[in-house]
């Protein structure tokens, strides 16, 4: 294992090295980094700047030799200076990287989760209305250019949505009915079984969604959202049943009971948690700490129920605890929404089209959290739309292929429940090819982030690359390249390791 990782790391190192050489040569031949100096009117100053930049960037050295000079500096942690600003590139690299990771991280995780779930569901309900509809939309999104999507998203999801909030956040009746019907249709498509069961489920879905929308619209809930203990309790029960159904099966009583117990604990702790949340010292690390405590409590509850399968109970409860923590977190964030939105800096237009945060916003951790989300949402959606299609299509195809395998038929034949067949035998095997796609797609998302950052005015890695490229400034471009290439290569390595976890036939060793 160690040998394997080491070998891969060495290979990765040489891949980055080789590709950086190619990019460096391309940059060196792309044009003159000193072109901007023609704008300097005074010849003396022009010559001074040209000389100092030439010196600092070794422009008088042959590109191949220059590459090695540059490489030597990079190994010492020095990415050189930008020809244009004559400031060291390394100065703000860290901040920019964090910002890009925030954007790319959210988009990647969300598109993996959403893409794979939708893909699996469409595979299970192949050729249903839901299948066709998602296929249609994923292909539409896939073929739209991201800069165009971003502009449209800003217009609709940003400007129009903010206008709608300002006008009282009421849905027109037709929209409530139409959304309700659409939700009903989706439920109908997804639900299996005989027609009357599907119709019932569809009707329930339509009814619930219509009712929720009507409630939201009539009370202006979006202007001052929040769940409150009762809705959270409903969520908790739903999560407990849902997670148990997927992970252990409702027949596993111990798992169900431990999940429900965990849910109950979660609902009860909602009250004291509010005090913890309102504490002035609240920050992201405490939040993570609370999440870990929740998972630990869930596991302990699962173990406490004992039995031969206490590991399963513990896992189920841990997942329930995690999801419920998320709900409680969202609930608390929502409670600060109105405060955030009405802040003079925000001007009651919470969804932002530029930047990654509002620097001048003053408020609690929760207000700032809302600010982060309202800046993240549009670029994240724009980025997600690129990769969603890939994940949906690949996981659908992969799942379909697995479900047609002999061992699935065998599993069914020996009387396993549909849940066990799909989750244990199907899903896990369908994930193996997807690991490759994930690694591959991280590169794609990082690339897409360049455009997204530009359109949304995020001053992060992509911007560094773009301005560098446009002004033919080699060092910022190379800094971007080295960092991004390293990420892409590491992602590939992780994918290889993931194979071994998912597929027992693959052994990673010497």
């Amino acid at each position: 294992m160690t040998t394997f990782i080491l070998r891969r790391l060495v290979a990765a190192f040489f891949i980055v090295l080789g590709s950086s050489f190619i990019v460096y040569m391309l940059m060196a031949n792309a044009g003159d980094p000193l072109a901007f100096t023609t704008e300097i009117a005074s010849p003396t100053v022009r010559e001074t700047v040209r000389a100092s930049v030439t010196d600092a960037l070794n422009l008088d050295v042959h590109p191949v030799a220059r590459y090695f000079l540059w490489l030597g500096d990079v190994f010492q942690g020095d990415f050189g200076i930008s020809a244009r600003t004559q400031q060291p590139v390394i100065d703000d690299l860290g901040g920019r990287l964090l910002m890009t990771l925030k954007l790319v991280g959210a988009a990647t995780v969300l598109s993996i989760l959403v893409g794979i779930s939708v893909g699996i569901v469409t595979a299970l309900r192949q050729y249903s209305g839901f299948d066709y509809t998602t296929t249609f939309f994923t292909f539409v999104f896939f073929s739209l250019p991201v800069f165009w999507v971003a502009v449209i998203l800003k217009a609709v999801g940003g400007i129009d949505f903010n206008d709608w909030l300002r006008d009282g956040a009421e849905f027109p009746a037709w929209l409530i009915v139409a959304t309700g019907l659409a939700a009903g249709g989706i439920c109908y498509s997804i639900a299996g079984g005989p027609l009357h069961r599907r119709l019932t489920i569809g009707a329930i879905g339509a009814g619930v969604v219509t009712a929720i929308l009507a409630y939201i619209s009539s009370t202006g809930w979006i202007l001052d959202p929040g769940f409150g203990p009762i809705v959270i309790a409903l969520f908790a029960v739903g999560i407990a049943f849902g997670v148990t159904a997927i992970m252990a099966g409702l027949g596993n009583r111990k798992a169900l009971h431990s999940a429900l117990t965990t849910a109950a604990i979660g609902v009860v702790t909602w009250f004291p948690l509010q005090l913890v949340f309102d504490d002035d010292g609240m920050n992201i690390w405490r939040l993570f700490g609370l999440g870990i405590v929740a998972i630990a409590v869930g596991s302990i509850v699962g173990y406490a129920y004992g039995g031969f399968d206490k590991g399963m109970s513990a896992r189920t409860s841990a997942v329930v605890a995690l999801l419920l923590s998320c709900v409680i977190f969202v609930d608390r964030a929502m409670q600060s929404w109105a405060e955030y939105s009405s802040s003079s800096v925000i001007r009651n237009r919470p969804i932002k089209t530029i930047g990654d945060r509002e620097v001048r916003l003053e408020g609690s951790f929760w207000v700032v959290t809302n600010d982060t989300f309202s800046h993240l949402i549009l670029p994240t959606v724009a980025l997600m739309l690129i990769s969603l299609a890939t994940y949906t299509r690949y996981s659908r195809a992969s799942m379909l292929e697995v479900l047609n395998q002999d061992y699935i038929r065998t599993a069914r034949a020996k009387g396993l429940t549909e849940r066990t067949v799909v989750i244990r035998h199907g899903f896990r095997n369908a994930m193996i090819p997807l690991a490759t796609i994930v690694a591959f797609d991280i590169g794609g998302i990082l690339g897409g982030a360049v455009i997204t950052e530009t359109v949304f005015e995020w001053n992060a890695m992509g911007r560094l690359f773009q301005t560098g490229l446009l002004s033919l400034d080699p060092n910022p471009v190379m800094a971007f390249f080295v960092v991004i290439a390293t990420f892409a290569v590491i992602a590939n390595l992780l994918a290889d390791l993931l194979y071994a976890v998912l597929d027992p036939r693959i052994r990673i060793g010497s």
């Binding site: 023609t38 704008e39 300097i40 003396t44 070794n58 600003t85 800003k154 400007i159 005015e457």
Partner: protein, 706 residues
């Protein structure tokens, strides 16, 4: 020849008074050059002030029209007279500032020193203006009509005499930097010392490790071996990384190189005379400098900050004195760190740790600068010496993409934008009227023009016709007659600026008070309309065979230029000129290579209202005279202009220069570039823009937050 030309250009480059690199032109960067040109020309300098001439019957507006120098003899010796614009007098108190206004700009600030050549960009000038350091460094600013206004609450400029020219700059008592230090003569001396070029002692280069090293003949840093002996570059055993081996060093330069050059202050060789109270400095020019009002002393960087950082003196008074002493004694050992710090010490792409680096003298102080993305300015509570702002907070957001800027305006994240004007953007902005967004169209400080080449052996060069001046002149005139000037304006510019009109002057901006007179009499009427028949007649008369090939250079990334080329090309073809499409991504550098093209199309950006600056464009061997135009008459007129103290005479001289240019077929001027400013009237009122830097910021104190 080339060498001679370069050295000549070097000399005229020193004549750059207030140049601003066209960094603000964003996406359109490629189409504008900045140079010593100033089309605003003689138009707008203020005449004598009402304060000092209470009996004058002229209203303000006609004073503005009364071009340039106020400096009638009656101004001499009048304390607080118009040595740097019309004294404004006390300002109204608008009361406590409140609310906030958000402005978007397309490029980030890179340096807090706008007086160095490198820092002299609009992206740096706008924040500096908010902090009192833009334009005239507190002494003066432009008003809406580009009159020079002296903020006499800050300081006064008294003309001591005109021959020799001598002006006293006095800072008022109690006018302080935002750290509370009184602004005084030390700051003025620092500005003079840094920009006069007199203290620059030699060539130096920045070595790879960042030291300012002495340069050898090839411009490479000189290297010392461990024994301290100079080693020729070829013999230096560089390491693989190109660094010096252990123990070797670059020979540190004791040379002083300030990265700045003021043609005006270069004429001030005498050390400024500092008043007893230390608040005033008097300088005397060796010879008259016609634009002295624009290019006198100003407050740029704090002397005590420079003294503290360069010389390590913490006490402000002592630091100031040390800076004065360094210049007075021409102490290279002290001037070297001073110049180094002055050149690069104020560079920043985010809020510096040291608050001294961004001290303000004006209405706003900087409170935050997020890595090249957003600056926040708060009203300076101590500021009483000038127009006090009505807005408490100004947010200065960097938005590079014009579409993003318009959408941010629409989403009310931004209140004021000034994007590069295009028809699409204008339509978009006008579509936001329902949200209270108002669009202001108008001229910018850049004008478009066609230049011809006189010295490249092409169709416009007399050498082509065996030195026959008359034939070459006929060909030039014929070509210029075919250019559809009005057609270009009507089709390409009017959609962006309904009030756009043809620019008929080489030296004076459209709408300036003297413009009408100059445009009417300068001979541009000959080229007002396309005259294909006239062109054919001229060519026949000269006996030149058609078709004549004309290589036409312009920027390849600019659709408008391409459209202009198509229009000119079609029209010129009718008279027998075959235009060769010379669009080039490197057009800026190509301009210098006169063998590459016969005619060029680009823009000149004006950065001040200086009078004599246009010599760089039209004078023999002028820095911006790419076409090699040379006229003894024009050169002589410029010599007269530079020493003229009378406004009417200056106007007449400019008119005479223009007559020559139009008659000689130098080229044609086309139009001022259209500008677009949009603001959300729900959140801010009182916004307007002027063509010159600081454009939309010029009257920030009149902005009012809702």
């Amino acid at each position: 020849m080339v060498n001679r030309r370069r050295s000549m250009r070097f000399i005229s480059a020193l004549a750059g008074a207030t140049l601003i690199i066209a960094a603000c032109s964003g996406d359109d960067d490629g189409d504008v050059l900045t140079g010593d040109t100033s089309e605003a020309g003689d138009t707008t300098e203020p005449a004598g002030s009402e304060v000092t001439e209470p009996t004058t019957a002229e209203p303000d507006t006609s004073e503005a029209g009364d071009d340039s120098v106020p400096a009638g003899a009656e101004e001499v010796g009048v304390v607080g007279g118009s040595g740097c614009g019309i004294p404004h007098g006390p300002y109204d108190d608008p009361g406590e500032p409140s609310g906030e206004v958000r402005v978007a700009w397309n490029d980030p600030l890179l340096s807090f020193n706008t007086n160095s050549s490198r820092g002299n960009a609009t992206a740096n000038a706008n924040p500096a203006y908010l902090m009192g350091l833009g334009n005239g460094g507190g002494f003066w600013y432009y008003d809406q009509d580009l009159n020079l206004i002296n903020n006499d609450q800050f300081g006064t400029c008294t003309i001591e005499s005109l021959d020799p020219l001598s002006v006293t700059y006095r800072i008022n008592e109690g006018v302080t930097w935002s750290d509370g230090t009184q602004i005084d003569a030390a700051d003025l001396v620092l500005y003079w010392g840094a920009t006069s070029t007199h203290f620059n002692t030699g060539e130096a280069v920045i070595a790879p490790d960042g030291t300012t090293a002495e340069a050898d003949a090839d411009g490479l840093p000189i290297v010392l071996n461990p024994e301290g002996v100079e080693v020729p570059d070829a013999e230096v055993p560089y390491t693989e990384e190109g660094a010096l081996p252990e123990g070797w060093t670059y020979k540190e330069s004791v040379d002083v190189t300030f990265d700045a050059a003021s043609d005006s202050l270069a004429l001030v060789t005498q050390f400024p005379e500092i008043s007893d109270d230390g608040l005033a400095a008097t300088i005397t020019w060796d010879s008259f400098y016609v634009d002295f009002q624009l290019a006198g002393l100003l407050v740029g960087n704090a002397a005590h900050v420079v003294g503290k950082n360069a010389l390590g003196i913490d006490d402000p008074a002592a630091a100031k004195q040390a800076v004065i002493d360094a210049f007075q004694n021409n102490d290279a050992a002290a001037l070297k760190p001073i110049s180094e710090f002055w050149n690069t010490g104020f560079d920043a792409t985010s809020l510096p740790d040291d608050p001294d680096l961004y001290l303000s003298t004006g209405a706003y102080v900087l409170t935050s600068y997020d890595e090249v993305s957003q600056m926040t300015f708060e009203a300076n509570p101590d500021y009483t010496w000038g127009p006090r702002p009505r807005v408490q907070t100004i947010v200065y957001r960097i938005i590079g993409d014009p579409t993003a800027a318009v959408q941010a305006l629409e989403n009310e994240e931004i209140d004021i934008i000034q994007p590069q004007s295009t028809a699409d953007l204008l339509t978009q902005v006008e579509g936001l009227a329902g949200r209270g967004v108002e669009a202001l169209t108008g001229d910018t400080g850049t004008y478009e023009h066609v230049d011809l080449m006189f010295d490249n052996g092409g169709p416009f060069d007399p050498a082509t016709y065996g030195g026959d001046e008359a034939t070459a002149l006929a060909v030039r005139q014929a070509f210029l007659k075919t250019i559809p000037r009005q057609g270009i304006v009507d089709r390409l510019i009017v959609p962006l600026n309904p009030d756009a009109q043809l620019r008929d002057s080489f030296t004076t901006v459209v709408g300036a008070p003297t413009y009408d007179e100059i445009a009417a009499e300068n001979g541009s009427a000959e080229y007002a309309d396309v005259d294909v028949d006239g062109a054919i007649a001229l060519l026949e008369e000269a006996g030149v065979e058609t078709p004549i090939e004309v290589r036409f250079l312009f920027a390849d990334n600019n659709p408008r230029r391409a459209n202009e080329f198509d229009l000119i090309s079609a029209s010129a073809a009718e008279a027998g000129f075959t235009l060769i499409d010379g669009r080039s991504p490197t057009w800026g550098q190509d301009l210098n290579t006169n063998t590459l093209y016969d005619a060029s199309l680009f823009g000149w950006q004006s950065t001040s209202v200086a009078v004599a600056d246009t010599e760089a464009n039209f004078g023999t061997d002028g820095q911006n005279n790419y076409g090699g135009y040379s006229s003894e008459v024009v050169d002589g007129l410029y010599e007269q202009l530079k020493t003229s103290t009378d406004a009417d005479e200056q106007k007449q001289l400019l008119l005479d220069i223009e007559k020559e240019l139009w008659a000689d077929g130098f080229g044609v001027t086309l139009f001022q570039h259209p500008g677009l400013t949009a603001f959300n009237s729900t959140y801010v009122s009182g916004v307007s823009a002027i063509p010159l830097s600081p454009t939309v910021f010029w009257n920030f104190w009149e902005w009012q937050a809702a």
